[in-house]
Symmetry: C2
Subunit: 213 residues, 2 copies
DNA sequence: TACAATTTTAAACAAATGATTAAAATACTT
DNA sequence: AAGTATTTTAATCATTTGTTTAAAATTGTA
């Protein structure tokens, strides 16, 4: 009989092996492109165990998807509420997302694609939406506008500027390297350069041309 | 017997109906999420006709995919080679991509996702890569740098700045509207505003703060 | 109209897929 | 060690999938 909850934490190994394998395969092939047997093979387990531990492909996927949504937003939220200057915060947000996507190159495409194809899966992830909306960041932006520190712009626009520029570097990696004939090393250097460009461009736009350096 | 080429152009209707339906369904559900019967149903035709006219799901998909790659890059290439000022050109590129993605909201996610999942399909589309690479744009950028019109930056970085910022508006539409509680009308206004922000931000970054207005 | 070529249809095929089952193997408890 | 609960396995199920086939319908041609 299948355990609905993980009561005894002794035998995590099988369940965790499935989860780890599922993350890998789902991120690579997407929900539709993945079979339960792909995951079983990756985890080196019998394919019936997928249903034994997670009841269905859909439920296993949701578990993975929610984890990836968390990963996608977690760092942002942490930085959002730090008591540091706005300029500092923006640079931190850029650095964080850059590292996150560099370490998880398939994350951006996975989240955006699955979310586009099946929006209702995201509608259920209310936690993220609430927390994002109630964060300290929006107030900080409004204050900075009032004090004249930055130009008049909404937090939503700022968020989008950050996310688009960083995320797209990695999502378009294949296109970029193919069109311009880059090697992997070329691309790493290019990406690092692009990050600095973005920092300066967004910084200048919001705060005005840099006085320092 | 199936016609390899479209010799007599009299009976385009069926083949074209398939193509149109395939574009719609593939863009909505992706290659893996689409069945040949989905397309047949959308086209209101017998499902054996899919193979009669296009020989296989893969071949039908490639036909659609190449069209979408063309659409994705076509306008850019046209503008690239126009004999207009760089500043003018950048604004035109932004406006063009904005309109294109507005009219084809699923295009960006489709192209990037399928390309990520199956890069070899893109490797075969050499035409685009060559043309992009040999375009007049890169020389124009180099000249503008030499003359001091813009800062020292490669055409590749500029391209990426343009593409990321416009494309992401539409690819992240569901995420944006859900998180910040926008209606469709809210989003249209937001997107239009964001386009102007991007224009100014990239323009300022490349050319320096605007003297006009 | 009669004949041939083309297009469309319904039916079927083999392979793959998500899921289930019942037995076997393992772990745990007393 | 014996008995119970849990985990793992191989086999199987009903659908779905891409594709093929052979007959029917339609179109074009003499």
């Amino acid at each position: 009989m299948k355990p609905l909850m993980n009561m005894n934490c002794s035998n995590k190994s099988a369940e965790e092996k499935i989860k780890i394998a599922a993350i890998k395969v789902f991120l690579e092939k997407g929900f539709d492109g993945t079979t339960i047997r792909d995951i079983a093979k990756e985890a080196d387990l019998n394919c019936a165990l997928m249903n034994y531990y997670f009841r269905s492909k859909e439920k296993l996927f949701r578990s993975v998807f929610e984890d990836m949504i968390q990963l996608f937003f977690k760092g942002i939220l942490e930085i959002f509420n730090q008591p540091i200057s706005l300029r500092n915060k923006l640079n931190k947000l850029i650095d964080h997302d850059f590292e996150m996507f560099k370490n998880n190159p398939k994350l951006a495409n996975f989240v955006l694609n699955e979310l586009t194809r099946n929006p209702e899966r995201f509608l259920e992830t209310l936690s993220i939406k609430k927390v994002l909306n109630q964060s300290f960041f929006e107030k900080q932006v409004l204050d900075a506008i009032k004090s004249g520190e930055i130009r008049d712009i909404s937090a939503v626009h700022i968020m989008l500027l950050l996310k688009s520029n960083i995320q797209f570097i990695f999502q378009s990696r294949i296109m970029t390297t193919q069109i311009w004939g880059m090697t992997d090393e070329d691309f790493d250097i290019f990406a690092a350069n692009h990050k600095e460009i973005i920092k300066e461009m967004i910084g200048n736009y919001l705060f005005g041309p840099a006085d320092t350096e």
